[in-house]
């Protein structure tokens, strides 16, 4: 067979290793230097395994759900009781809230504050694969350029930020989530209006936190303040909720504070996400330079 006829196999294995190592180093160098040549090839090859991943994930999810359903029936009974009580309590609270809300609206109108929340248009997508290295937090979605998805589109789940599209193929796209160790988002803290950077951190990930840094030392931010994407960011759309601050502390340099951030999105149980089909650079009125 091929294995025995090939003259390569008569070489000392360590020489083969040396040659192959050089091949790898060259590949790393070329894929770094000539990104635009390698990416289309990679995208095309990758889109071949997408249908397979999609199928396996669909089967896996349905089995997982079936098991979960089975276990959950008893819990649900208990939960219903609890929810009924909570419902009563909340409806009482709602009464008083509605009154305050009415007051708020009235006062806002008096101040003529413009609503700056935009209703972004979104596309729903399913997660079909998570990153294969286990050290990154990226995942593959089943929508691609055919559905109008582009690189740098923001991804939400519920009301919170999930991440950003980093790669698009015809039938898939890859999201780098905000909990990825290599992801940075410029953000703004409510009430105190401080700028800061939110970045993923592998060490904090298992505790359910991501990192928040570069807060001004004079900040009045406290635990449980909300953190939103900043208007300063050139990729993330403004006013998307990221999470809540906790555990603020001074940094050693005496100039900044750092802290933990609890994301609003439950990344462990994420199946469906929403992709915002507006790009920040379009909103800023810049021409697309592709």
């Amino acid at each position: 067979m091929k294995e025995r006829k090939n003259p390569k196999y008569d070489m000392e294995p360590r020489f083969v290793l040396l040659i192959m190592t050089m091949v790898c180093v060259f590949m790393i160098f070329f894929s770094y230097r000539f990104d635009n040549v390698f990416t289309p090839i990679r995208t095309r090859l990758n889109s071949l395994i997408i249908p397979l991943q999609k199928g396996i994930t669909t089967i896996g999810t349905s089995i997982n759900n079936a098991i979960d359903n089975f276990e959950e029936v008893e819990d649900l009974q208990k939960q219903i009781e609890e929810l009924k009580e909570e419902n009563d309590r909340i409806s009482r609270e709602k009464q008083s809230m509605e009154q305050s809300l009415y007051d708020l609206e009235r006062l806002k109108q008096l101040l003529s504050l413009s609503e700056n929340y935009k209703n972004y248009t979104t596309v729903a997508a399913n997660i079909i694969a998570k990153d294969s290295s286990g050290y990154y937090s990226r995942f593959t979605l089943d929508k691609g350029s055919r559905d109008g998805i582009k690189v740098d589109m923001n991804v939400l789940a519920g009301s919170g930020l999930v991440g950003i599209i980093t790669e698009v193929g015809p039938n898939y796209s890859v999201v780098r989530s905000i909990i990825d160790d290599n992801n940075y988002v410029s953000a703004i803290v409510t009430k105190s209006e401080d700028d800061c950077i939110v970045c993923g951190n592998l060490e904090l990930l298992a505790l359910g936190y991501i990192e928040i840094r570069d807060l001004s030392i004079n900040t009045e931010a406290r635990n449980n303040y909300k953190v939103y994407t900043s208007p300063l960011s050139d990729k993330y759309l403004p006013d998307i909720l990221i999470g809540y601050i906790s555990n603020i502390q001074n940094e050693n340099d005496g100039l900044t504070k750092t802290g933990y951030l609890t994301p609003v999105v439950d990344f462990e149980h994420l199946n469906t996400v929403l992709i915002i089909t507006e790009l920040k650079r379009d909103m800023m009125g810049l021409d697309e330079d592709e």
Binding site: M1, P13, C24, Y32, S132, S133, G134, Y135, D181
Partner: protein, 174 residues
């Protein structure tokens, strides 16, 4: 040809399972059993340095394509794992489980270390102690435990599917 196909299928299945359903059994710091290391270790243990190296290279390259980083990084990692495990091929005995288990534990540890060295330390994430206790150790342990089952399957495939094609067993390098 059949040998080639068998390993191609093994690598593809490992990759697909790892990126999809195995995510349900992740724990801690996103630790999942590393099926690709298992395939490479078993292949090198069965077939020696050179073939182990090439199978590692192929598996790594597929992973590179799927994961979207620089092309060749994982290929390099897995190639070294395949080569180093190939040294053990001369001690191959059917139904020996302790040696391959030790090999896969060491390989996963090595893989995690290379990963940290090239992809984390270079970005200033220098806290190796936390990385070892939270990432490398659980990951290696998890992979080893799962390998007990997976190795039986891979060994069975080796004997049932590919071994009968060879008549000269002494050709296996080591």
């Amino acid at each position: 040809m059949i040998v080639f196909l068998v390993y191609a299928v093994e690598i593809l299945v490992a990759l697909l399972l790892k990126t999809t359903v195995l995510q349900y059994v992740a724990f801690g710091f996103n630790n999942i059993p590393d099926l690709i290391v298992m395939v490479v270790v078993a292949a090198a243990y069965h077939r020696g340095k050179t073939k182990g190296m090439f199978i590692g290279f192929a598996a790594g390259l597929v992973l590179d394509i799927a994961s979207g980083g620089l092309l060749g990084v994982f290929a390099l990692f897995y190639m070294f794992i395949g080569y180093l495990n190939g040294f053990m091929a001369k001690y191959y005995v059917q139904n020996d489980f302790l040696l391959p288990l030790a090999m896969v534990a060491a390989s996963e540890f090595l893989y995690s270390f290379m990963f940290w060295l090239f992809l984390f330390m270079t970005r200033g994430r220098t806290n190796l102690v936390s990385y070892i206790s939270n990432q490398m150790f659980p990951q290696a342990l998890y992979t080893t435990v799962v390998f007990i089952v997976v190795y039986r399957i891979l060994d069975l495939i080796y004997w049932k599917v590919t071994k009968p094609l060879y008549t000269d067993y002494s050709k296996v390098e080591g």
